[in-house]
Structures are given as C-alpha cells and as structure tokens.
C-alpha cells in the first residue's frame, strides 16, 4: 500500500508496470489516471492546492476503508499538486486483487472518495481569468452508492 503526494510528474506506464510486478498472489490489476482537460482549448493551466499533513491522512483513511471493504493485495494512490498544464496527468490509482471485481470496485471507490474527501482544490487559468473549480453535486452524490 502506498500513497504519494508530490509536485513532480510521474511516469504512468512505469508506475503501472512496477505495481503489477510487485503484487503477490493477485490475478487482477486495475489502474486509472486523471488528466487535466483543456476545455476545448480554453484552459491555459491549472494550479492544485492541498493541505499538507491532512492530505496524507485523508488518503490513508480512504485506502484503509477500501481495504476493509474489498480483498486487496495492494493499492497505490499518487496525486500531484502545484501548477499543471493541459494534458498533464494529475493523479492515478492502482488496485490489485485476486479476482477483478474487487480491484474494479476498490478503484472506483478510491476515486469517488478522493474527489470530495481529500483536501485538494483546483484553480483554473484561462484567457478569461482564473477561477476555483467548484465541487459538483454529482461527486457528492457518487459517495452514496458506497
């Protein structure tokens, strides 16, 4: 199990390969990565702010919860902060389990929870100026299914 909160970019392919190679006894690996959308070319960049200390605690708590709900061989969460350009990868999750259902469900659970329960905030920079991304009701609604 690992959690990394970092400013620097990560190599998604290398992370996925390393993760898949180190999981022991797992028959399934699910990976997901989030990318900065360019909003039809309007977005110039994004800035991600976070709450050092609480971020790691919140992500650990979410990962612990996933491990209690599903039988996971391993899990990985990487989330960046600081300035990001359109097309850059923001974050990734990887989950491993004996059979695929647990890995798929746990990956979705991790994504749903870290969207609205981990202390990150996105600010978008466009030609029109800058604005904080507002939380969406659908993201809060998504938690109810768990």
């Amino acid at each position: 199990m690992a959690i990394r909160v970092q400013a620097e970019p990560f190599d998604y392919g290398a992370e996925c390969n390393a993760f898949a190679q180190r999981v022991d006894g797992a028959g399934a690996v699910v990976t997901f990565c989030g990318i900065v959308r360019d909003n039809e070319g309007r977005l110039q960049g994004m800035e991600i702010e976070h709450y050092p200390g609480m971020t790691e605690r919140a992500l650990s708590a979410i990962e612990d919860e996933a491990r209690q709900r599903w039988s996971l061989a391993d899990a990985l969460i990487v989330h960046r902060f600081g300035p990001l350009a359109p097309g850059e990868m923001i974050m990734m999750v990887a989950t491993a389990s004996r059979h695929r259902a647990d890995a798929f469900a746990a990956a979705e659970f991790l994504m749903d929870y870290l969207k609205s329960r981990a202390p990150f905030w996105k600010k978008e920079h466009s030609a029109d100026g800058e604005s904080w991304v507002e939380a969406r009701d659908v993201d809060e609604e998504a938690l109810k299914r768990w």
């Binding site: 989030g34 702010e49 709450y51 200390g53 609480m54 605690r57 919140a58 989330h79 923001i90 974050m91 994504m111 870290l114 969207k115 609205s116 329960r117 981990a118 202390p119 990150f120 905030w121 996105k122 600010k123 904080w132 991304v133 507002e134 939380a135 809060e140």
Partner: protein, 83 residues
C-alpha cells in the same frame, strides 16, 4: 486558548493569509467563526455563506457544532475538488 487557523483556496485569498494564530475563548467552531467575522470586513465576507465552507479540526473533517476544547489546528476551506 491559542489555536492555529489555516485557510485554503478562495478563503485564503479573501482573508489574505494562509495561516494565523489567534487567542480565543470560543468553545465551538461556530463561536470561533463569529469572533472572526466581527474582526474585519474580509473575514465577514469570507464567512458570509457557511454552506460553502468546510472545517477540519487537527486535520480531521469536522462540523461547525464541534467543540474546540483541546484542538490545536483549525482549517477552513471550500468543498474539496481532488481527483
């Protein structure tokens, strides 16, 4: 008692600082917010709509009714937008 208060995202921008230490006699988060609101206009503006504000006590999500006894770090921020 003395508490460290942290502000994030647009709360940090509206108040104009990322953190400060305050002496307070507030017993709940709501009372602390009331104290801050009366200090200066920028605080009143930042805390004008509490539905848009979340609070964490010692780095755990909490709510405005929560007691402050023993708390060392209070953080105010908008709903989170990770992922």
């Amino acid at each position: 008692m003395s508490v460290t208060i942290l502000y994030f995202a647009w709360l940090r921008e509206r108040i104009g600082l990322p953190r400060e230490t305050v002496e307070t006699s507030a017993t709940t988060v709501t009372e602390l917010v009331e104290e801050l609101r009366t200090r200066e206009e920028r605080y009143a503006l930042a805390f004008s709509d509490l539905k848009a504000v979340r609070v964490a006590l010692d780095q755990e999500l909490s709510d405005f009714d929560a007691p402050l006894a023993g708390v060392r770090e209070v953080a105010f921020f908008p709903p989170m937008t990770g992922g």
